[in-house]
Symmetry: C4
Subunit: 293 residues, 4 copies
């Protein structure tokens, strides 16, 4: 069966296929096969451990005690991730496509910080960006139900795009205007903390979004009055995006989505293939056999 598929695909793409490359691809990029599943679960665990290590390193009391241990582990994991990244580039047919895909960039970002940390020490904490690699979790465990949940959110956001842009523009205009006014009102009172217009704009954002740290707070009567107005605006304005997102969600016609598998095309890096699909839906390149079918 596999032989036949290989035969046909060779006809199609006129390229000699490399069984080792394919095996590596199957294990690293897919989680339908037995070894693929094991590899991916190991990878996810390693990512979690690694993020935990980075966090621990940043805590002074832990770092003082276990500094050496943490550094050693950190380097072991980084080397493993580097090898994995190299294998991903090696095994795919279109490395450039992988490198500049979302996951390709995330994979690179999860090894770079440790190397850069040799030169710029504080950079190494960026290694916690590795947590973004966990996004693969939904595909690996076939949590398509959750993927669909995510899709629905994305679609609703996308449809409300124009309104979101208008809303953000409005927010930016309002915080600049209010920030400037507050600077003129409160700027003479150094105890209020309104030391410049950018700082006052920061305060306006803190207030309008109802966060309210209190590191900056008006001290004059006029400043307090204007703040109250800003707060009530912010309190009411929050209704606007909610109203639009809700309307989009209700309007949306629910399209039944078929069960997808976790395979990634070795040629064009397209994913979301249907269960049982034999060829890539985008480039026609043969997909690997689904372990369960």
């Amino acid at each position: 069966m596999k032989f036949l598929k290989d035969l046909f695909s060779d006809h199609k793409d006129k390229l000699k296929r490399n069984p080792l490359k394919e095996k590596i691809f199957e294990i690293i990029f897919e989680s339908d096969t037995y070894y693929g599943k094991i590899f991916n679960i190991a990878l996810l665990s390693l990512i979690l451990i690694s993020v935990g290590l980075v966090m621990m390193e940043s805590v002074a009391s832990i770092n003082m005690r276990y500094h050496k241990l943490l550094v050693v582990f950190e380097w072991i994991i980084t080397v493993l991730f580097t090898i994995e990244y190299a294998l991903r580039i090696y095994s795919t047919r279109k490395p450039i496509r992988y490198i500049f895909s979302f996951y390709g960039i995330v994979d690179l970002l999860s090894i770079l910080p440790t190397y850069l940390g040799i030169i710029y020490p504080s950079t190494k904490y960026l290694a916690s960006l590795r947590i973004l690699r966990l996004l693969r979790i939904f595909r690996i465990f076939k949590l398509t139900q959750f993927l669909r949940g995510g899709n629905t959110i994305l679609i609703a956001l996308q449809r409300s795009r124009a309104k979101i842009v208008v809303f953000l523009s409005f927010i930016i205009l309002i915080v600049v205007v209010i920030g400037s006014l507050m600077y003129i009102i409160e700027g003479k009172h150094p105890e209020s903390g309104f030391t410049s217009i950018p700082t006052s704009i920061y305060w306006a954002v803190v207030t309008l979004t109802t966060v309210g740290y209190g590191d900056l707070a008006p001290v004059t009567a006029l400043g307090k009055f204007l703040s109250s107005v800003v707060m009530i605006i912010g309190y009411g304005v929050i209704a606007v995006p909610t109203g639009f997102i809700t309307a989009e969600v209700i309007r949306k016609k629910s399209i039944p989505e078929p069960r997808e598998n976790t395979q990634v095309c070795q040629n064009c890096h397209d994913s979301n293939h249907l269960d049982g699909a034999k060829y890539c839906k985008t480039c026609g390149f043969p997909l690997h056999r689904d372990m369960e079918s």
Copy 2:
């Protein structure tokens, strides 16, 4: 009538029934009968008083003055609750089922802290978990209208489960990424309080959810700018769960729910039996006579 029911049920469950056990069960677990109602109202009052006592004990000024009195009352109530817990186990036909049911665990949690408090003093304050026992209030007073309100909320939450998981994952990813970035930006300024990545992640949660304590606040210009972006994201993102919950609530077909009584099956601890039901809808065990029917 009762005799006949008993007769039939004996045929059904092939078990000799114990009238004392049944009487206790009727009083403790049901509130349709006269004594059951009295018992349950007394119990609810005792729970409220007891939670009040635990709170008072935690207030230094009150505790100093009335320490002995509070301890005595605390122990009297705990002993009463312990007796009640023992009777509940004794009177039910399937003690294991009761012990591991939600209410069984809550009932145990409401007596354990006082005993554990002998060894670990601070544990005794957990006795305020007794307040969870009040959840029975809705069933006891036949507040089915409110139960239905609660059900509707639960159903809406359950249907949105996939979206909630995706949403929470997104929130976790975002706070880890932002927390790490803020640690790199603000970490060198000890007055800002960003002393480690976990602390910065805590700050990110405080900011994204628009709580904004102000115990940690950015001091650098870049930190303030990134904070502003996080706040605006948090302010807008709140629209997403709202949109989905609202859509679920609207989509929901309102099913007319019949009036339920407050009886609990002595055999399988199933509740929510219909008014006038004579046998448990789940295991066929005869239920007690409804006082009102």
Copy 3:
């Protein structure tokens, strides 16, 4: 015309009518007539001025300078309001009904504090409750469109009553449980401010509602972690009441409401009579002539 109406109404209520009483009633309670309009606008202005005076008196710097003036004005207004209150009681046919109506209580509350202030000085600031008298503004200016807006809100709230009760119970349970846990975790660290369970419950409310003063904030790692969970719950839970209110509003069938006038029945204090109505819709007592008809 008026003569005829009076004749008929006398037949109806078998009571001799007092023209002075009626005139006073017309001016004080109604704003359709010329003098009624003037009286009510004067009254509203006086209320606003009076609330402003109470506020000014509470500001130390203003009070020091103008204390005597403020006290004199305060007493003049209070005496005027007292006379008005007496006239309201005198002119209505059912004084008891007026006294215990919502506006009757508000009218009393707006004069009592000043008198009580002689004995308990701080009580006099309650005089700012006079602002509630402004609620009449909507009826006086025939802002029925806005009244309807208010009604829609009230109806939506009323229909969601059961869900609101369940929601509040849930909030209370959650803050008691979380408050107790936080007291056990943070109570040993006096710098955190978690000095008792009630204080910790207050913190839990401050956090769950995303207010976040920062007067209390966790200092331990575990406390910060639990806080983060509480915040995310609070952030998501806000979606629940919004969802239900929205659903109610959408479900609501909009009933066209006819234009109402501002008359109040002298006999039963019912308001919201239709424009052009000649008799009270509730007790049949004749209403005053509408100035505009």
Copy 4:
């Protein structure tokens, strides 16, 4: 073609047309033509630069170093904006109409502060109001999709007007009442910061809107209890405007809006003309030729 149009329009408005005036109008007010586009992009850039300069000037450390440079640039830009403002008045046929239109006022507000700054120094920071000029951006770049997004928001807000007024009145009444009560409760404790009723009302707004700076926070038990109630009210009340905005958005029938161009009528300052329109839809005055048609 243009000649014919000019001919006809002359018949219409019985006024000799001034080619220079028209050319200036075309460049300044319209962005369909080549020069108009260039002019408007240059203008937008200048506005952004100018707002940036004002902000930089307010930052003490930057101002100390580059004070002279900033002042020079500020004056160059202000002079350019003044010339532009003069040309706008000169080229339009109805200057009064332009001067009192929204954009006319914004254009004036963006030059006035610098001149006023000579007399009242702090006034010059109002120059950041120039950012409002950016509102033209949507019309200039034909971002009609976004304009429509804005329109939808405005329509939803307008239809909810009555409810918004009622809601705001309710908020104002509630904060005055709560502020007064809190002043009576907390006023005796100077460390709480509730020094006057207006300050307490400010606190009530900060709390009800869930901003929560923490510059004022209750210290008494009763104050904390009342605060908790206010917070829960505020937390729930936010659902009301959201519910109404959402309902409005859903109810709205989406009217297909035709593509509009960016021309402004030289005679009556009406904008939003249809693509390809040759005469002003409001006053019949001929419009300029659309570059693209």
